[in-house]
Assembly symmetry: C2
Homo-oligomer: 159 residues x 2
Amino acid sequence: MPGPPKWRHRFQGHVSRWTVPREVILDLLCRTSKHLSAKEIYSYLYKSHPGIGMTTVYRTLDLLARMGLVTKLVLGDGQSRYEFKSSDREKHHHHLLCTKCGKIIDYSEFLDEELELIRKTEKKLEKKYNFKILDHNIEFLGLCEKCYVFSEKRSSNDS
Amino acid sequence: MPGPPKWRHRFQGHVSRWTVPREVILDLLCRTSKHLSAKEIYSYLYKSHPGIGMTTVYRTLDLLARMGLVTKLVLGDGQSRYEFKSSDREKHHHHLLCTKCGKIIDYSEFLDEELELIRKTEKKLEKKYNFKILDHNIEFLGLCEKCYVFSEKRSSNDS
DNA sequence: ATATATGCAAAGGATTTGCACGGTT
DNA sequence: AACCGTGCAAATCCTTTGCATATAT
């Protein structure tokens, strides 16, 4: 018999039901700005809701992603990560990813130009390839400050 | 004692050695335009070189990626895929990915504007976040023609 | 001759599935 | 009451590792 929170209506009239695990997972994701893996979510929730199993975490994340409330990020370390997808355009952002330590930086500056170009490109691609574009994904890969400094030192001391 | 092919020199004087598995894997990748998974590479090579094991495929792909000859794509279906990275700018491309059936379309049109903007953005991001940007990744997600048509039909017939 | 590369089998991890039980509607 | 959601354990699947052997230089 879960409470009244703000996403409940997204589940009503749906095939889906509003349950405790779904509430707390969604709640956790929308409170953090981090990109959490299923295991991290499970561990965090374990403190307050030891009953929630790993399976449910996966199934819930999958559901939320299909509902469009959450974005699944696949970044190349073995596990997928999830972030809350704000419905507000304001919070839209892209990623900067350190290939050494896995650090993720969200950036939302400089997006105006990017987004304009993206929209233009999307239109052209949709027409040319008969493809319905629903989303895009832009990321820059490289070395964060720490890892860069470290690799500099190494390469000057190396054999 | 492998042959004389064109990448041999990339391995000479290196810590790495020029071996048969490395040659045939590289050769396969540079002949196809597909985005092959480790398993697909293994299966394909099995016909001509049954001796090459899965492990070697993984290790070789990893090496080639670190050498910059190959790009590893992580697209969200369970497995990583690899594509030959042409050193020529001409062949640089981005991806259009069908989230339903996994189809991948490479496109290289419209890149000029994209790349110009990307360079500008990279500079700004590098300065602001003290981040060494080495690569970028742009992809559009959506439905390919077939999957789109199918989902249209479904949604008009659905309960 | 020596250090690196390979293959096999086993280990490791993340994610999924089958099934009986519990909770929502 | 009917049906969906959950938890557990087992099953899958992709990828990595340990180790003895084979190979390139």
